[in-house]
């Protein structure tokens, strides 16, 4: 039973960032901008916020510092996503190319800055944010050990973002307009919606959430950020596609991939998996292979936003 609890807790650490980043990607793509830059934005968000955390951990401590760092991650993610937004919305650039530029820029920027200002590539920080047991809730049988022990506030924030995202996308005027811009921007424009502004909003939300996701991913699993998020932004993109651009399904997809990733990271701690004698490299491959398999069976009927990837051209109206 304790192995099971351990697996669920670990799965949270890997699934919640995927959930957050994929939801971010959802806002961007539903507004009509393909955001392949999620990986790069995660790196920038994680790097700047951890650099902030590292510099402040002498003055501020505890959960407050984590919350402040999360705000920094959100802000820096939005800032870097502006590059992508400007290129793909104003300059009508190829969105995949502009996203690739951000992805190439991010790790180089993180490593360069760290080496120029800290002297080494790794950004180290003290992890003082683990909550061993949530008072009261952790004593609930089964649910307590599953969700309220060995946890981080980021887990609950992740679920809150899910609920808010669902509400914003389906129950607000903003959400309806955003979706209209991703499906048929010319019609949206004709109805008086400012397509450029909605698309900026979509990309900025994705930047905020991807930046946050970078921090949320890094804090529980390491204490030395190394200028990379190990393909997580790309996995989030796959989660988004597997989740068919819908919040509920994205939740399911994020946990599916998070579990795969957990197995890959934690198999040495699970005796019966270790005894199978499968080489570690194959465990590491599994999430990526599963992504391809899942996409093979789900891509024929794709619910992708119809105008995603196309620059808005008012002349086509």
């Amino acid at each position: 039973m304790s192995t099971f609890y351990f697996l669920v807790q670990q799965t949270m650490f890997y699934s919640i960032p995927l959930l957050i980043v994929a939801l971010g990607g959802m806002f961007s793509e539903r507004s009509g901008v393909v955001n392949i830059a999620l990986e790069g934005i995660m790196i920038v968000g994680a790097f700047i916020s951890l650099y902030f955390m590292r510099s402040m951990q002498g003055t501020i401590s505890g959960q407050l510092l984590l919350v402040l760092s999360m705000l920094v991650a959100v802000g820096s993610g939005m800032l870097i996503s502006l590059l992508h937004a400007y290129a793909s919305i104003n300059m009508k650039a190829n969105q995949v190319i502009s996203g690739t530029a951000v992805n190439l820029f991010a790790p180089a920027f993180a490593i360069f800055t760290a080496r120029a200002f800290i002297g080494v590539q790794q950004v180290t920080f003290i992890n003082q944010y683990r909550i061993a047991a949530v008072p009261g809730l952790s004593s609930i049988p089964v649910l307590g050990p599953l969700f309220f022990t060995n946890t981080y506030i980021t887990t609950y924030i992740g679920f809150a973002i899910l609920v808010i995202s669902w509400f914003v996308l389906y129950k607000t005027r903003f959400g309806l307009r955003l979706r209209a811009c991703g499906e048929h921007p010319q019609a949206a424009d004709a109805a008086g919606i400012n397509v450029y502004r909605m698309r900026y909003a979509g990309v900025l939300i994705s930047g905020a959430l991807a930046g946050l996701g970078g921090l949320v991913l890094t804090v529980p699993v390491t204490t030395a950020f190394d200028g990379q998020v190990a393909g997580y932004g790309f996995l989030a993109l796959a989660v988004l596609i597997f989740g068919q651009w819908k919040p509920g399904r994205i939740l399911f997809a994020a946990f599916f991939f998070g579990f795969m990733k957990t197995i890959a990271a934690a198999y040495t701690g699970i005796p019966w998996l270790l005894q199978l004698g499968i080489p570690g490299n194959f465990f590491k491959m599994t999430p990526f292979i599963m992504t391809i398999i899942v996409l093979t069976f789900t891509s024929k009927k794709s619910a992708a936003p119809k105008a995603a990837g196309e620059p808005y051209d008012p002349g086509k109206r």
Partner: protein, 363 residues
């Protein structure tokens, strides 16, 4: 004379070259600013080191620059060829490392081949491995409509872990945690090392140029190339015109993969101390192919020059380290160059629109 000049300015080639040069200038400028911020007193010196590239070390440096350029010209061709046929091959990294492994494996294990032919078999193996790896992407795209960008990215990671596993199982040097040297499959130098003394330059750069020309001929002068491009423009229209669009998508990816795989073979069969290291890091040469292709607007001949340029910058970054600069500034510059070359596409489309309008009026 004036008319000729006018025509030159209005031509598509001129527009793309001037847009690329603009992007390069902006990238260099940003690089200089970054150096100024991080180390004001040495910035000018560091920047000159980048600009000098291989020339920092005379003929040896230039030779090494050519050696480093050959694989990225090939991955650039791989990305560019896919672009021309409507596919974004972000998977060059995986194809490259699989090709490298196959080449090393054949170079080490196929001892039955006579001397002097091993390198040919090894390079062929590299190309085939790259083609098969990219073929997966093509098949899934053609038959299951799976987005090639996502599959390629996933296959980059799968390829990296797979190669790490296979190197350890087959051609491993445990004391150095890397692949062993395929000493019987070292590429011939063709006397180039007489010109560029003490450098690692070999037949690779010549092969890269030859393949660029071959790809140019395929794309521009053959029916096959025309069909590939037609599928890229409009899949449904091509099918309606009687083109087997599924087969063409798969072939496009396989040719792109073969080029990347060949690049992997060329880099690792040099005998210049390059080995596959067992680390969880994607091969950067594959990603360098993207700026190389974009800078040249995917034109095969242009890719030769943009590959030489990016290789030159990387050499500059290598020499810059001696003066305590962080070489990642080169990657930042390259990222900025790509970012602005994405603008360049828009700029070019704009120029074309303008010149079309004018042309229409005068005619």
């Amino acid at each position: 004379m004036n008319i000729k000049l006018n025509r030159l300015i209005k031509s598509r080639g001129f527009a793309s070259i001037s847009a690329s040069l603009g992007a390069i200038l902006i990238g260099l400028l940003f690089g200089y600013i970054i150096l100024l911020i991080s180390n004001p007193s040495e910035a000018g010196f560091g920047f000159m080191t980048i600009l000098r590239g291989g020339f920092n070390q005379g003929v040896r440096g230039v030779g090494n620059g050519l050696y480093m350029s050959a694989p990225i010209i090939l991955t650039g061709l791989s990305v560019g060829f896919a672009f021309k046929t409507g596919l974004f091959n972000i998977g060059a990294s995986g194809q490259f490392i699989l090709g490298a492994f196959a080449a090393i494996y054949v170079g080490v294990k196929w001892t039955f081949l006579p001397d002097g032919t091993v390198w040919i078999a090894a390079l062929l193996a590299g190309a085939i491995a790259g083609a098969l790896w990219a073929g997966i992407v093509g098949v899934l795209k053609a038959y299951r409509n799976v987005n090639e960008v996502i599959t390629s990215i996933m296959l980059n990671y799968i390829g990296m872990y797979l190669v790490n596993y296979m190197v350890v199982q087959t051609v491993f040097n445990p004391t150095r945690n890397e692949s062993i040297t395929p000493s019987r499959a070292i590429l011939p130098k063709l006397g180039l090392n007489q010109i560029f003394t003490n450098s690692s330059v070999n037949i690779g750069i010549i092969l890269a140029i030859v393949f660029a020309i071959i790809i140019y001929i395929i794309l521009e002068k053959t029916t096959f190339g025309f069909e590939l491009k037609a599928v890229g423009y409009n899949r449904d229209a091509s099918r309606y015109a009687g083109i087997n669009e599924k087969r063409n998508i798969i072939l496009s990816m396989m040719i792109a993969g073969a080029l990347s795989g060949l690049g992997g073979g060329i880099l690792y069969l040099s005998g210049a101390g390059k080995h596959i290291e067992i680390v969880d890091m994607l091969a950067p040469e594959g990603f360098n192919g993207i700026p190389v292709a974009l800078l040249a607007s995917s034109h095969p001949i242009g890719i030769i020059f943009s590959g030489l340029f990016i290789g030159h910058l990387n050499m500059g970054g290598f020499y810059m380290q001696r003066y305590d600069f962080v070489p990642e500034v080169i990657d930042i510059m390259i990222a900025i160059i790509i970012y602005f070359s994405a603008f360049a596409l828009a700029f070019k489309a704009f120029l074309e629109k303008v010149s079309k309008k004018k042309g229409g009026k005068s005619a």
